[in-house]
Subunit: 340 residues, 2 copies
DNA sequence: TTGAAAGCGTTACCAT
DNA sequence: ATGGTAACGCTTTCAA
């Protein structure tokens, strides 16, 4: 009924009448190296299989100072983008013997700071982080202490840290150009007020395209989403109601697009006839929506792959000072009905 | 530059010229109990604050046999439902000093089995699991070994294990009745082939409602979603094309509804005029879709709350044999345009 | 009121 | 070829 005490390496040694050391060597594949006799190896291995012995990772972690755990600090793990990345990362982590602990920062510096300090005392081996504002110093500290850190989604200009991001400016430029090519002459960029690098880059790409093409444009910046806040939907409704001339909208993120599209519906602004739409961050539902929404798709699998590849590389170079790896991936513009 | 060695309790003791024990007592709030002098307490605490000492959780875990880690085994962490639960659980776990490791089983028994065994050797304190088929024995083992286990989304009839689920049968019954009340006389239930309790219960509720009302019905069961598989969309297209008489569809899950709705669009079956639709598992996009889709909403916050409440309760009773807690929560039918 | 020391399960150095 | 043992950082019993 009650937990049968787990067998330890000591029990095995006692049972087989040999020393702990020998068992340890055999378990860790150092038997040959130590010239332990084949028959003893076999005997120990058979016994281990028989009783189903599994080494205690906590003890290993204490001894080795490594835990085989990576922490994944997303802005919000329930967000589809982060959840998808989490899933893909999980796969690769497990394949390499690593587990993943997750947490959500809510883009809150204090919370992120606290989480980092919590995980340090758990001997986590590495950090994958979507940095919040003002996290520069904490990231720098982690790096100085020798922790592998890989940032993603956004990065921090002032700190030389590995990161995996996408071509935000380039793709925003391309998406905006697409609107212009389709005939839009009065553009609007909808985004959140934010100092996050990816948002700034997207805005820059938009502006550049509009300016390069000599097209009128304006920007609608919403407060960062916060449950206490008024719905973006309300704001967008008001904004567009007062600006009937707008004929092309670039949404900086899919969440805003969904809210905005609802507003367009209510305002009877037919898409794409009266107003064309492009959104950053493609989504399953952009394909279902009527009309289907043109969107910029981030290469999720590639992001996850590069994240883990970089992390594993750094993990392999523990105690050495590793060179930061900076990956910038291309996106894809999926043209659909909203820009016909 | 390189990792300044982390201070341990030993360093503190040495620095202050007292024993490790004393420091430990003070850190763990047992100073009063041990009648340690106020001034010494203050001295130690001040020093700890000054150097920012944080105890090593791995060492604590090894010593105490508890890790303050809960593992969250979902079917697929990138699925919106599981991701949302993950987020809510995270919140409560962290509030109580627990961290969460996640993993996805893909509903694969072998994978789940392996994951369980992996986590046992990490001293995880508890398991929150969406059980895969054939996992009865493994759950039972966990229970026998004294691990707190809470199942959710579905449960296992043969094992007396705590679980948090929703009223699947009742809500499916209610949703089906809703279709019938709105005039449907030729119903169809779309689901996946599955032995999962929640799917079976939903089917049962559907059937019962149809039979109680003496209404024709049929069922369309798709192979369990698998990337190698043909798209549910194709199957549904074919299925409904051959059955023009169907005037009411109950989708067992939102994923199927989205695929089915696309098929309806192509087949020109106007919703709700020609065919009414209800889906299990409400979704943000059911509100955005045109027409808005009537759906049964699971109480996510409540599920998460009950999950953690139950888990924490069990964690408090470690080493005692705890009574399984069985929670069944009510859902809400959100009536929308698809059943007008 | 404080300290010494055992012990949690491992690994790895040093003997033999 | 194999074994003894210190060490990882902490908690807690027992002794002083």
């Amino acid at each position: 009924m009650m937990a049968k005490k787990r067998v330890s390496i000591k029990d095995i040694a006692k049972k087989l009448g040999i020393s702990i050391t020998t068992v340890s060597f055999i378990i860790n594949g150092k038997a040959r190296e130590q010239r332990i006799s084949e028959e003893l190896i076999k005997k120990v291995q058979d016994y281990i299989d028989e009783i189903g012995y599994k080494p205690n990772h906590v003890a290993q972690s204490l001894r080795l100072g490594k835990s085989k755990v990576i922490v994944f600090m997303a802005e919000d793990i329930s967000n589809q983008f982060f959840a998808s990345i989490a899933r893909l990362i999980e796969e690769k982590a497990y394949q390499n013997g690593y587990k993943i602990i997750y947490c959500s920062t809510d883009n809150d510096h204090e919370k992120a700071k606290e989480l980092i300090s919590t995980f340090k005392m758990r001997n986590v081996d590495g950090f994958i982080i979507t940095p919040t504002p003002n996290l520069e110093k904490d990231i720098k500290n982690l790096l100085d202490e020798g922790f592998p850190v890989v940032l993603f989604d956004r990065w921090i200009p002032d700190v030389s840290c590995s990161h995996v991001i996408v071509q935000n400016e380039e793709s925003a430029y391309q998406g905006t150009m697409h609107l212009i090519e389709k005939g839009c002459r009065n553009l609007c960029f909808v985004s959140v007020m934010s100092t996050q690098s990816q948002m700034i880059d997207r805005a820059r790409g938009f502006r550049k395209a509009a300016q390069d093409s000599n097209v009128d444009y304006q920007e609608c910046l919403l407060k960062f989403h916060n449950l206490a806040e008024i719905e973006p939907y309300e704001k967008l409704l008001e904004f567009f109601e007062q600006r009937p001339g707008i004929d092309g909208v670039f949404f900086a993120t899919n969440y805003l697009a969904f809210e905005g599209l609802q507003a367009m519906g209510v305002l009877q602004r037919q898409v794409p006839e009266k107003l064309k739409v492009v959104s950053f961050d493609d989504h399953y539902f952009f394909n279902l929506y009527k009309p289907k929404i043109t969107a910029i798709e981030q290469p999720l699998e590639m992001i996850a792959e590069k994240l883990m590849e970089t992390m594993l590389e750094h993990l392999g170079e523990l105690d050495k000072v590793y060179k930061p790896v900076k990956v910038v991936l291309a996106n894809r513009l999926n043209e659909r009905e909203s820009t016909l």
